[in-house]
């Protein structure tokens, strides 16, 4: 069935197969590039609209980066008309049981947490992944709380957060990420106040 192998036909065959394959892949890559980017933006947008109050701007197009403690966080401002209704802040921690956890935390303009959403994680199914909204009531307890008077630590560590049973590490990491988002929020808020003072 197969042909006799000579150096010439071996090289030609392999080269042509690789060429055809790279041309094909280049084509498919070009075709799927924009749907892939759109899918990524859609995921972020879905998370934003879940975590902040009603808005009518496009937070993704107004996003900016905020440095804090040597790490960079992405902030998505949400507006209704001219009024700022809150910020969605993409926060993360590497302290999870399975490593990195990325959260979207939404704050109202008065500093209360509106809602949280998990963007990506590698926590244990059935244990740590209960932090994902809908899988348990863990994430619900953050809604409407102001970190000024709601200590973002698990109860074991002297805070106000009920940890997920048997998943203290995940719960701690979650709190850490929300706390980081809160710090970023405060930075953004201070700048806003400064700006308002200057405007007047």
């Amino acid at each position: 069935m197969a042909r006799e192998s000579t150096l010439k036909n071996m090289v030609i065959t392999l080269a042509s197969i690789t060429l055809v394959s790279s041309a094909l892949l280049g084509g498919v890559y070009a075709l799927t590039k924009s749907p892939i980017d759109m899918a990524k933006v859609a995921k972020i947008n879905a998370a934003i609209s879940k975590v902040v109050a009603e808005f009518d701007n496009n937070p993704s197009s107004e996003k900016f980066a905020k440095e804090m403690g040597g790490k960079s966080y992405t902030v998505y401002p949400a507006r209704m008309g001219d009024e700022l209704v809150g910020y969605a802040i993409e926060s993360f921690t590497t302290g999870g049981f399975g490593g990195r956890i990325v959260l979207m935390v939404g704050f109202n303009s008065d500093g209360t947490i509106n809602n949280t959403a998990v963007l990506s994680h590698a926590e244990t199914p059935g244990l740590g992944d209960k932090m994902v909204e809908g899988k348990s009531d863990f994430s619900v307890q953050f809604q409407g709380k102001n970190p000024e008077d709601f200590k973002l630590l698990v109860k074991k560590d002297g805070g106000d957060v009920d940890a997920i049973t048997a998943s203290t590490i995940t719960s701690r990491a979650f709190c850490e990420a929300v706390e980081a988002a809160w710090e970023v929020y405060k930075l953004c808020n201070e700048e806003n106040i400064k700006k308002e003072v200057q405007d007047e």
Partner: protein, 195 residues
């Protein structure tokens, strides 16, 4: 062998997981739920089908000594296409299955079928073989996923019917080995009964 025979033998008689014990990595790694198993199975079927067809078409031109590298390039190309398509249209599933999607390239089932069947048979037979083996793989993964999900999270296809948690260990790594082990026992038992 008739076309129908080629199609059905992959599902039971030559089931890649339960009989041939091939492709163990994705079998164990992605079956935390029935849906994930189904998704992984269909993704593999897609690659298997197309690579079988192309390899059967080019087998006559490929010199014997570069056979394997050539087949691998064909398979890797289809896997990459699958990666792009999944990222664009099923990003959630792509994220869950993760590394196991690019690793379809080294799934012994795919290269095994290319070498053992597609390179020696007609294009249409190879297509049928790809679909049959693919569906057999999908069926095995879905069953294993379903068993692990039932025991581990007390739900089926994401639908919860008992309150509370399952036996957690079945969703975790050790449960994969143990569940597959017992499924094989069951499969062997049934096989000897039928005989």
């Amino acid at each position: 062998m008739s076309k129908l025979n080629i199609l059905t033998k992959g599902i039971l008689k030559e089931n890649p997981v339960f009989v041939l014990l091939l492709g163990m990595c994705p079998t164990l790694g992605t079956t935390t739920s029935a849906i994930n198993g189904l998704g992984m199975g269909l993704a593999t079927t897609f690659v298997l089908m197309l690579s079988n067809v192309v390899i059967s078409a080019i087998a006559g031109f490929v010199p014997a000594k570069v056979r394997i590298p050539s087949y691998i390039v064909v398979i890797a190309s289809f896997v990459t296409i699958l990666q792009f398509v999944m990222q664009a249209y099923t990003p959630g599933l792509y994220e869950t299955l993760g590394l196991f999607i690019p690793l379809i390239v080294v799934n012994c089932i795919v290269l095994g079928r290319a070498e053992a069947f597609a390179s020696k048979n007609s294009i249409s037979d190879s297509f049928m073989d790809g679909v049959g083996i693919g569906l057999g793989f999908t069926a095995a993964l879905t069953v294993l996923g379903l068993v692990r999900e039932l025991l581990g999270s007390a739900s089926a296809f994401g639908v919860k019917f008992i309150e509370g948690d399952g036996i957690l260990v079945f969703v975790l790594a050790p449960g994969a080995f143990i569940a597959l082990g017992y499924l094989l026992v069951l499969f062997n038992k049934l096989k000897t009964k039928i005989k």
